[in-house]
């Protein structure tokens, strides 16, 4: 559907997008995830046509769109600020794109109403943008962007302006609209939860490059490098070197054993997710591998789970997450001597 080949964009103050290759399938809900300055917004603006690439190509449905101006691309965008026209009513805003296409009369009315129904905003058709709440503005912006049935809908941080409660509801709504219309959605976000819950595929961007493109599950379970492992969720990440029985991690006394042996020399890094680490009272017989004694240094209580920061005997500060039983206080306290243990499957070895 969308093919991006070797796309590069330089700004005066540095490289924004550095040789990005990307393929997005039809009907996909795709997310581009990255921190600020990762180049994700520039990539989106390149696809929309607001920026011209220095190198590379953009193909949409097989047609080279690299040099097409924004108004000639079968792509519509939902802006982060929504960019609703303040001097036009909701209806006029939604109609705008159709009118530019020359749609008039009954056809115009029908399609506008359909779009407003899709986002349940028909009752607000005559309001001006300043008379709407944030969530309503978001829905009008969605209706306006989707009314022309673009091949691709670009969404720039679609939920960032909404409060937490509304965000969850809007996430469901976006997924529903995507399924109903069958339009390919490409959402740009800095929020990993948003990317993971919305999208069927996520591209992780860092310093103008795409680090990994995968399903949310694969990104979490099999990150290909330290950046992805650290960016998606929390993790215990440490440099390690290969040794006879497994790996020796920095600041960890015991061996780290992974399910599959890795050939070749290092350097390696090891990632262990906090929720995969079991925490128990100090065990007199510490296994030789995948276990560590330590002392609870601090803890964070989240209601449903507690995160323990444990100073391992080797010196590393490991974080372990434990679900809380109903109404129970955290099982361990600061200063408790504990043993941490994890299965081999929890050990992910990274080469870069």
């Amino acid at each position: 559907m969308i093919r991006v080949e070797g796309l590069t964009k330089n700004f005066d103050d540095g490289v924004a997008v550095a040789g990005v290759d990307l393929a997005i399938a039809r009907n996909e809900f795709f997310a581009i995830l990255g921190g600020s300055g990762s180049g994700k917004t520039t990539l989106l603006r390149l696809i929309a046509g607001f920026e011209r690439p220095d190198r590379g190509r953009i193909l949409i449905d097989g047609v080279d769109m690299t040099d097409a101006p924004p108004h000639r691309r079968p792509v519509n965008m939902m802006f982060q600020s929504y960019a609703l026209f303040p001097h036009m009513s909701v209806t006029r805003n939604v109609e705008f794109g159709l009118r530019q296409e020359g749609v008039r009369g009954a056809d115009l009315r029908r399609r506008t109403e359909e779009a407003l129904d899709l986002v349940a905003m028909r009752d607000y058709a005559e309001r001006k943008p300043h008379q709407l709440s944030g969530g309503q503005k978001q829905r009008v912006a969605l209706a306006r962007a989707i009314v022309k049935r673009p091949k691709v809908l670009l969404l720039d941080e679609p939920l960032s302006a909404l409060d937490r409660k509304l965000r969850e509801q809007t996430q469901l709504h976006l997924t529903e609209v995507q399924k109903k219309t069958g339009v390919t959605f490409v959402v740009v976000t800095h929020d990993q939860d948003e990317a993971m819950t919305l999208a069927s595929k996520v591209a992780v961007m860092n310093q103008g490059r795409i680090e990994q493109v995968d399903t949310p599950r694969a990104l979490y379970a099999q990150p290909i490098n330290r950046f992805v492992a650290g960016f998606i969720g929390a993790t215990n990440l440490m440099p390690a070197e290969a040794s006879g029985e497994g790996f020796l991690g920095e600041g960890v006394a015991g061996f780290l054993v992974a399910p599959a042996a890795l050939a070749g020399a290092g350097p390696f890094w090891v990632s262990i997710r906090p929720e995969n680490i079991a925490i128990s009272a100090r065990n007199a017989h510490l296994p030789r591998s995948n276990a560590e004694n330590g002392r609870v240094e601090s803890l964070s209580y989240y209601g449903d789970h507690t995160v323990y920061f444990v100073r391992a005997e080797g010196g590393a500060l490991l974080r372990a997450a434990l679900f809380n039983a109903a109404h129970a206080a955290p099982a361990f306290h600061v200063g408790d001597d504990v043993t941490l243990a994890w299965p081999p499957e929890a050990v992910t070895v990274l080469r870069s």
Partner: protein, 301 residues
Amino acid sequence: MTRANGGRPSDQAPKNSAFPSAAAPYAWLLAFFMAPLLVSLAISLTHAVDGVPPYSNPLDWRALNLDNYRSILGDNLYVLALWNSVRIAATTSLLCLALGYPMAYAMALEPPHRRHLLLMAIILPFFTSSLIRTFAMINLLKETGLINQALASLGLIDPAHPPSILYTDAAVQIGMVYNYLPFMILPLYANLVKIDWSLAEAARDLGAPPRQAFLRIVLPLSWPGILSGLLLVFIPACGEYVVPTLLGGQNYVMLGTQLANEFFQNRDWPTASAVAILLLAILVAPLLLLQALARRLEAAS
């Protein structure tokens, strides 16, 4: 702690301190605008006398009449002055808009650090008195002036019979546009720089070619700036004195020049006051019209 025991200093203090600050603008208007206006109005109803002051007693209300207004409106010279003032002010406003809008637009699109520089460049001419700058224009516009010299050296005009710009309508028009352009650019710039440019991008994204995006989105949103710019130029331009005097020549009449004439040459304060009041009446009409328009636009957006 009821109000009945009244007069507690702690209760009264904030009330008293709030009063003068709210009343200050009104007091200012009353003292420096309404009072002189009423004095002018009163003098315009008297008749000229030889003496100090050079008008009959305005408190003698039976002697007050509209004779001055009648003679002004019956005098072809004043009708011409009135026509010239409104015509020149109107064309000046429109020319300033045509020149100023693209300039303000370009400034608003610049990155912030360059905007300040450009803003400075717009304001810089104000550091010199407009009188001096208009004098300088004489040297550009006169028959042997820099413009004609340049044209002659390019062989475009005959140096023996140079065309004269100075002391024509065109000279006044050029001087007026030059003097009033910043009054158009500044409010337009202040308006355009606040426009959210993602709105124009959204229009492009929805299929509008650049021209349509401008006409349907940017232009409607810049109406408030256009209106204030037109007012800021039209109002002072109507009463302009320096430019028509210096660039229009002895016989060029506008209301401002006639007003000065009556005051200083003829010492006819009552007629001069009547001219001033008439000028004000001319200015109030478009002011009210544009204000109503602005309010409607505001209500619409």
